[in-house]
């Protein structure tokens, strides 16, 4: 998956390289536009002038999953849509992270019915959950900051390899 996962040892070269790579990755997380329902409106509001997500590095929301690092699942994931969610997630290139924004994608929300997946973590692995219905744009920014913290503490040779079937 990349030569950086084969590095051995904890010497000063590897840790500094680790810090550099993590600094680069955490300060330029590019999300993929995946607004499904009402949470999408608060996600859009967090990108615009009042709340401004671009000061955190997420300047551009890429429509194509191939060009993005972060999948913000904003809205209810229905069973019919779950096929597409999995497909878009599989198309994203490593390294990738997932935020489940809102109650519907965290746990099914107020819709406990025959057509709704009770939480997107039944289909794809989730890194950060943001509760709320919908969460305020400040909460979205706080979730993004948590992802940045998570990325900064990652070790290059310990990223889960998605091909081995861990998820």
């Amino acid at each position: 998956m990349g030569i950086e996962t084969q590095l051995i040892g904890d010497n000063v070269l590897v840790t500094n390289l680790n810090k550099l790579v993590n600094w680069g990755r955490s300060n330029s997380v590019w999300p993929c536009t995946f607004g499904l329902a009402c949470c999408a409106l608060e996600m859009i509001a967090s990108t615009l002038a009042n709340f401004d997500i671009s000061r955190f590095g997420s300047e551009v929301f890429r429509p194509s999953p191939r060009q993005s690092d972060l999948l913000i699942v904003a809205g209810t994931v229905t069973k019919k849509m779950s096929v597409m969610v999995k497909r878009v997630y599989d198309q994203m290139a490593d390294p990738k992270w997932v935020i489940a924004m809102g109650s519907c994608s965290s746990c099914g929300g107020i819709f406990q019915s025959y057509a709704v997946v009770q939480g997107v973590d039944q289909i794809i692995p989730v890194d950060v959950y943001i509760p709320g219905c919908p969460p305020r744009p400040e909460a979205v920014l706080a979730g993004l900051m948590k992802i940045q913290e998570k990325i900064r503490t990652e070790k290059l040779n310990q990223r889960p390899d998605f091909k081995t079937g861990l998820f």
């Binding site: 019919k80 969610v85 019915s113 057509a115 009770q118 289909i123």
Partner: protein, 166 residues
Amino acid sequence: MAVKTVIDAIGKIHPDSIIKQCETQGICEITLAADAFFEVMTLLHEHKPFPFDMLTDILGIDRMPRTPRFDLVYLLLSTKNFTRLIVRMEIDEGQDVPSVSSIWHSADWAEREVFDLMGIPFSNHPNLQRILMWENFEGHPLRKDFPLEGKDFDKPFDPTTIQDYC
């Protein structure tokens, strides 16, 4: 009242079709028998001077355990003088209903939704497929004997079981 003239006109041409007539909350309502249904709807669409030119909605109500099981309700509107009319039909499980999509285009998707969620089949419909659920979904969700959380609620969900039209 204006709607009464329409109902009287129908009563003259198809005498046995109107079973019941009442008024709910200011809207006139008629219950039709199943045999002259399509002709009466055509009459309502072409009646002069104010035709009922918009079909606002079609809905099904499951009255289990009564027989006939379903109530099929059509909401009509005349945009010339802003009057509404409710047309109701009581149908049984599996009984075929003629589609009115050749009279009003808005019936196309509305009948597909009633078929999908209630299981009432419509004949002469251009494309009677499921519209809100996926292709290999089993059952009709809005029926009273379908559980709210669906079948297999306690098992983890597997997206590969979903097979859709395209």
